[in-house]
Symmetry: C2
Subunit: 212 residues, 2 copies
DNA sequence: GTCTATAGCTTGATAGAC
DNA sequence: GTCTATCAAGCTATAGAC
């Protein structure tokens, strides 16, 4: 039984348990029985509250992507049209980064689920585009304002590289800890923030400034 | 039945079919029944040739990672100690990129499987580190020769961002095609090569040159 | 090396009582 | 909204004939 969810409503308990398990083993690696056992509820309840296993999966994603997208959109709208690329990238990745760092296990697990769906063709249109395209489009619009001479393709590809680096990093797979012999820590997101924004900003500048 | 594998040996046919299906739906999203049906072989044969479903999964990865790692190591060893960061990155990602582009469906599917395991904590030590750490370590060693003043952490994190951008890009999820309204094409890897090496090189320079 | 048959278990979903 | 019971289908793995 999940300590954090003992007093939460049934749908919340189900969402929390599903999120934790999906993060570790993916959509098909988890059964409704595993989820309901962890949540301490009956097997029939996920289907009652969410219609189906797929409905539950979508609900797990949507619950936090709504919050995240609001925060990102607000951060972008707080910037002037003359904002530097560093500010734009900070607005896009900052909310996700801070949630992963300070938001507890739930947000960390959510980031792991996002990394999985972002890297599989299976969920591309069904979930990724549906959930994240509006903010992505606004981010790209502002990058083009910042770099008016940039080719359209260069902006999209820069965003794509950002997306890959971001999703893998926030998923905290443990790879960099292992590879670096514990010199780097995937869970120390302040260690990350210091490096991800400059790294990606430099990439955008090189590609979008027009001066090759 | 798979046209390409009609005349191949049974283990090869099984590997090819498993690769294609794992690429789309991941390890748990695919059953031995689906694999053997696509391969046109009996249900018992994967277990005979590979011991278990997990053994088959490992074999799918290893078959091509051995080839890939040899090519990458050779490309790195062909460089002098004074090679530019662009050359180092080209040596690391070039072989994977060219295989994905010219290697046919098998290599494309392999890249999709790699993206999934690279983005899940579940396979980090078991597969990712076991298969890819040696080349990663050699790449990082050479980056540190190129940037002697760089902090250890900056080099590892730069590599991590490279890894995220690379695996998602080569997985060809279709996201950038959809997002860009078919302006960019995830399958046009020459379009990618032109942008990924500069983007990542700029990131490495910003982080590892020591001049913030 | 291949094929048939099957054991033993788990799966998602639901019908019906409360 | 919850709980029990259950269904039909699917799952991995293997034993034994050829």
């Amino acid at each position: 039984m999940n300590k954090k969810t003992d007093k939460a409503s049934t749908p919340q308990r189900i969402l929390d348990s599903a999120e934790a398990l999906f993060a570790e083993s993916g959509y098909d690696g988890v059964s409704l029985r595993m989820i309901t056992k962890l949540a301490g509820v009956e097997l029939a309840l996920p289907n009652y509250h969410f219609g189906s296993k797929l409905g539950l999966f979508r609900a797990v994603i949507q619950r936090r992507s709504v919050i995240l997208n609001n925060e990102r959109m607000e951060a972008l709208n707080a910037l002037s049209d003359r904002a530097e690329i560093e500010d734009l990238i900070e607005a896009f990745i900052g909310p996700f980064l801070r949630r992963s760092l300070f938001g507890g296990e739930g947000w960390r697990d959510y980031a792991r689920v996002v990394a999985q769906i972002a890297n599989s063709p299976r969920w591309t249109s069904e979930i990724m585009s549906a959930e994240f395209d509006p903010v992505a489009i606004e981010f790209i619009r502002r990058v083009r304002v910042r770099f008016p001479v940039a080719k359209t393709e260069d902006v999209y590809w820069s965003f794509h590289f950002l997306l890959g680096a971001m999703t893998m990093t926030f998923a905290q797979t443990g790879r960099i800890d292992l590879l670096s012999g514990d010199t780097c820590h995937g869970s120390d997101l302040s260690e990350i923030h210091l490096r991800m924004v400059p790294f990606l900003s430099a990439g955008f500048c090189r590609l979008c400034k027009g001066s090759t």
